[in-house]
Point group: C2
Chain length 333, copies 2
């Protein structure tokens, strides 16, 4: 992302007007250069990339401010789960046109989140496309050398913890699509708005990053559904897992939608877009982890245990028997 002081192109004007105010870090050189230069001091730099596409990760009529926040937050979510503190991000924005009515609130909200989460814009690229809007963010975080919390180091016996509540974003998407959940929540605007908000603007769990780094063997953020992402963590760690379905934290909307049959267990457990942190914490550290998270203002729930073996994770009903899930996660292909 580059812009000259007297640049003549529309791209330069666009960058100067909307994005230069977000490039508050000296490493960004006010977006006047072709590159940023991030100072380092022997720490590890965590790098994560996630893109969101119109019609796939957000809806064509989602407001531009929520699209901006989602684009950044799905990446901050990875930093949180890896135990890192944000250092900045780059942005690739593929637009059909340079529309001020869209770019104004988009850039404003992106700047607000960048400030709140101390993650300044470092650079990027703005390109025209005849296709859907696409926003790709690469985010950077810092942590002490060799302390990134991996997916691969969960051990049998570790307790499985999740932050916040599961399934709300999938319910929000169902509402936006006019599905059965919309009917269930029709008379409950606060719940309806809450699940829509969860779909459009993920919670950012950076407040637990340090606790995750201090206490968890393994962690990841839940982007494609709890069931599928837990299967990935288990496979990467060479273990299996048992989850008590009744322990999975649901919001009031989630409980209601399930009780009334408006949502299936698959919607909640495999719907995706949760962006909560899933982590494997040794039993001995569970109390400390939960307390540290609570003091950071983030609720944590123990939902199960890692066990030896290579079977897919089992989701156990109240009778102790495995519940059969017909679908475990969202896949793009």
């Amino acid at each position: 992302m580059t812009a000259a002081h007297t640049g003549h192109s529309g791209e330069d004007t666009l960058i100067a007007r909307y994005f230069r105010p977000l490039a508050s870090d000296p490493a960004a050189f006010n977006l006047v250069d072709d590159a940023a230069a991030l100072q380092t001091a022997g720490e590890d730099l965590v790098i994560t990339t996630d893109a969101i596409v119109e019609g796939v990760h957000f809806l064509p009529d989602d407001p531009p401010d929520t699209i901006a926040r989602k684009a950044l937050r799905v990446n901050l979510s990875d930093l949180a789960a890896k135990g890192a503190a944000p250092a900045g991000f780059t942005l690739t924005l593929a637009l059909r046109a340079a529309d001020d009515a869209w770019l104004g609130p988009f850039a404003q909200a992106l700047g607000d989140d960048a400030r709140v989460f101390r993650c300044p814009l470092l650079g990027g690229d703005t390109v025209s496309t005849p296709g859907p809007l696409m926003i790709s963010v690469t985010a950077f975080g810092r942590l002490p050398r060799a302390t990134m919390v991996p997916r691969t180091a969960g051990r049998a016996g570790d307790r499985l913890c999740v932050t916040g509540s599961i399934g709300d974003a999938a319910l929000g998407l169902d509402v936006l699509r006019g599905g059965a959940v919309a009917t269930t929540l029709a008379g409950l605007p606060a719940l309806r708005d809450a699940v829509i908000a969860r779909y459009r603007v993920p919670e950012v769990r950076l407040a637990v990053a340090e606790a995750v780094r201090s206490y968890a063997h393994a962690a990841m953020d839940i982007s494609d559904g709890l069931a599928g992402d837990l299967a990935k963590l288990c496979a990467a760690s060479g273990v299996s897992a048992q989850v008590e379905v009744a322990a999975v934290p649901l919001s009031a909307a989630g409980k209601l939608a399930l009780a009334q049959g408006a949502a299936t267990l698959e919607t909640v457990l495999a719907g995706g877009d949760d962006y909560e942190v899933l982590c494997a914490v040794p039993e001995v550290h569970c109390a400390s982890f939960t307390a540290a998270a609570a003091s950071a203002g983030v609720p944590v729930t123990i939902i199960g245990t890692l066990v030896a073996g290579s079977a897919p994770p089992a989701f156990l009903g109240s009778d102790g028997q495995p519940v059969v899930l017909t679908r475990r996660s969202y896949s793009h292909f």
Copy 2:
């Protein structure tokens, strides 16, 4: 970019099959994790992002191997101009479908370039899109603290140098579109193929990165055309420039196309996609810079001088009078 050992999704299979072989650096954790962790040691990390879009930066029937190389090389070009040595890259790939016949040669060529330029894949994201193919790369380079060569530090009196030859990629695009250059080069397949190759697969000038860092006050890569990009460098440095048009290095194809009127001066000077390095070198270091570049195998030509003032750069004809350019650079909006 993440993939579990027993992942069930198409995305995981795609990543494991095509991209894991490119993730040779330990920082990439074999793409099993949500993030990479790059070790640092007090150096500066240069970060640059450039995306290429089907129909905008490459043609729908360009071969997948050349698309891959272009996506990476337009970013390596920025690292070269900033004086940095590559450390790795992340990839966002927006695809309509997971097509093996396309992904195979794409990943193979990307891996070949990553190996040759010592720039391993560190992570990324693969998403589905109904729109055009898009490849966004964020590349990382290392250099000693505070030694990144900026756009902003050119001074009046500095000589302007460019690597390689200018305008060939624009001629190549004209050939691929069946323009006048296609007719001119119809009986000269070697020249025709050479300019097409320049459009599809930029030269990588990393061999001069150290010389640029040692001797240049300011530098940038030429992506949107020499005239426009020089204007940006001048504006960023608070100076103007005089360029002798006759000194601008042209290939045999470029000379022929201009001589026969198949290409205009605007095509050559403002067509873009050159990905050569433009730099401002103090007179006293010019010989050393040119010699260092030559010993690195990269031809360098002095095309003009930075001068005081804020006027747009002047391109002087053989009569010493400014040539009027109707267009100076490519703009997306």
